[in-house]
């Protein structure tokens, strides 16, 4: 057993990493639903979920159990194989795409092995292309679900949705070409490192400034690609009941749901990595004071949770919330006491805060924007986004060429 472990160390590490990441992503997914419901509720002057657990924190668990125990009818006349395949495909592809994302630059040294954060190998030179390949296959989950249900609304929803995803995939792919040209690589790690070429510039060195047009196209196309508001036509409930997943119930519906939320996370990761410097700090590298920022945020937040917890209505909340607050405060203190841990945590801290910001923007848009009409959606994708992203590619290549000619770089 021991010999097997040492000879196949890489394999064992990868399997453990996959299991861990899967667990984290699914948990984050569950709490993303809570986060979304809370934020949308507050945008609409409501409280959102607050009955199950303190501040509704156990709501995702209750939802999950509900999904598991609901009756799971298979409608008559469905194409059985494809009907079962579609949610599996959607979920599997959404989860696979997370594997490409790197979560930190430095390895952790454990049992004599350098363990990097993220599953994909360091020299995955097709990084972003692999992601696009997975996204390209993602259309099948939606299209096949709509077709196999043998029902009108899902078919219309599936058709709309696949047309939308195909149309926006073009703009999505074209919009990152500018970033690729600037980095000279498909590798996501190289793309982040290219934004750190001038460590003293901090936030000004990120791709968002030269590539603001590309970012606009990318984010819009990505929101459309994940079928979220304002591009959630496939599931426009007033027109199509629930679109492609109308005929799915119970856990098969949950699989589509998890797939959608996972792709939201992937898109947020990509936005962060391509345009917002990934795990780079927005401050110049010489400002070491900012290394205490995680603690400065965590400790007051933890104290606030304790304060809020002791005054909470239910006894359960009065027990759980202060415990959580203490844990958060303790984490903040640990970061101050152990500078090594603090230094290691910087990159993941910035990456995660940026991802969280993008997830908030997603929810924010859902709370505030109305839905596009179908023809508007198509016109927007083909007549505005695609030409804009092509212009962006041409402009970027000209600037790079000019710099090579006259800039002496």
């Amino acid at each position: 057993m021991r010999a097997l472990l040492t000879t196949n160390a890489e394999l064992v590490i990868t399997i453990v990493k996959i299991a861990l990441l899967l667990f984290i992503v699914l948990t984050v997914n569950a709490y993303l639903t809570w986060f979304e419901r809370k934020v949308v509720a507050h945008i609409q002057s409501r409280w959102g979920p607050h009955r199950v657990g303190p501040h509704g924190l156990l709501q995702p668990l209750a939802d999950g159990l509900k999904f598991l125990f609901k009756e799971d009818p298979t409608p008559a006349g469905v194409d059985k194989f494809v009907y079962f395949l579609a949610p599996l495909l959607a979920l599997a592809l959404a989860l696979t795409s997370i594997a490409i994302i790197p979560f930190g630059p430095d390895p952790i040294r454990l049992f004599g092995h350098d363990i990097y954060l993220g599953i994909a190998p360091l020299n995955l030179n097709i990084g972003i292309l692999a992601l696009f390949a997975i996204t390209a296959l993602g259309v099948y989950g939606v299209a096949l679900a709509g077709w196999s249900s043998n029902s009108k609304y899902p078919l219309l929803g599936g058709l709309r949705s696949s047309a939308q995803m195909i149309s926006y995939e073009l703009a999505l792919t074209m919009s990152v070409v500018g970033v690729l040209l600037m980095a000279g690589s498909f590798n996501l790690r190289d793309i982040i490192n290219a934004q750190a070429r001038h460590p003293e510039r901090g936030i000004l060195g990120w791709n968002i400034w030269p590539q603001i047009l590309g970012f606009f196209c990318f984010f819009t196309a990505a929101v459309a690609e994940t079928n979220r508001v304002p591009f959630d036509l496939p599931e426009a409930e007033s027109e199509l009941v629930a679109g492609f997943h109308t005929e799915y119930a119970s856990f098969k519906f949950a699989m589509f749901f998890i797939a959608e939320y996972t792709s939201m996370i992937t898109v947020s990761c990509l936005c962060t990595i391509m345009f917002f410097g990934g795990w780079l700090s927005p401050f110049p590298a010489s400002w070491t004071v900012t290394h205490y920022l995680p603690s400065v945020i965590l400790i007051p937040f933890g104290l606030w949770v304790i304060m809020d917890g002791v005054r909470y209505e239910t006894i359960f909340g009065r027990l759980v919330l202060p415990a959580m607050g203490t844990a958060i405060t303790a984490l903040g203190l640990v970061l101050i006491v152990f500078p090594q841990v603090n230094a290691f945590i910087q990159a993941p801290f910035w990456l995660l805060s940026k991802i969280l910001t993008f997830l908030f923007v997603y929810v924010w848009m859902r709370g505030t924007l109305p839905r596009f009409r179908y023809d508007q959606l198509m016109a927007f994708g083909w007549k505005l986004l695609l030409p804009l992203s092509i212009v962006n590619v041409i402009l970027t290549s000209f600037v790079i060429l000019a710099k090579m000619q006259w800039g002496g770089q």
């Binding site: 390949a133 299209a143 709509g146 599936g158 047309a163 195909i166």
Partner: protein, 171 residues
């Protein structure tokens, strides 16, 4: 040289079996959507084989273009036309025996070629210039730039033709 089942070899046989099963299933399936799905399996298995040979870029493009774009259009059209189970006419049934003969002939030809070359058949592990994106772009945009541009011109003409044919003037 003995046959050691190394990890790449195991992956190769797995992917090759997947591709063959997908291809056979493509022909045997009765419903067009199932056939299209089988073809996607073949495409993805081929991409895996390219990846195994170190041609990362080709593998990714294989999935994006064939697995994604082209097959999505196939599935899309089948869905739109709501094509049913395929019908067997007397002519299509007649195509069976000659087809089988052709398959056997092709298989025999390939087997004969491999047997004649014998030990000189080398395992294709690294595909040289094709393995890196840089190598491919240098080939396409430097060495073969004129054929490449001509091909893209041809594609452009085909796209324009398709648009003209599909777009009927409303009179």
């Amino acid at each position: 040289m003995g046959w050691a089942m190394t990890a790449p070899l195991v992956v190769f046989f797995g992917l090759a079996a997947l591709a063959v099963i997908g291809a056979v299933s493509l022909i045997l399936q009765k419903h067009p959507i199932h056939s299209a799905l089988s073809l996607i399996v073949v495409m993805v298995a081929l991409a895996g084989l390219y990846l195994l040979m170190g041609a990362e870029f080709v593998a990714a493009v294989q999935i994006i273009v064939y697995g994604g774009a082209i097959m999505v259009l196939f599935v899309f059209v089948i869905m739109l036309l709501n094509a049913g189970v395929e019908e067997h006419t007397s002519l299509s049934k007649m195509a069976g025996p000659p087809g089988l003969l052709l398959v056997l002939a092709l298989a025999g030809f390939i087997a004969a070629t491999v047997a004649r070359s014998g030990a000189s058949v080398q395992a294709a592990t690294q595909t040289g210039a094709l393995s890196s994106t840089k190598g491919i772009s240098e080939m396409v945009f430097k060495d073969f730039v004129y054929p490449f541009e001509l091909t893209s011109f041809l594609v452009l003409v085909a796209i324009l033709g398709a648009t003209v044919l599909a777009h009927r003037e409303k009179s």
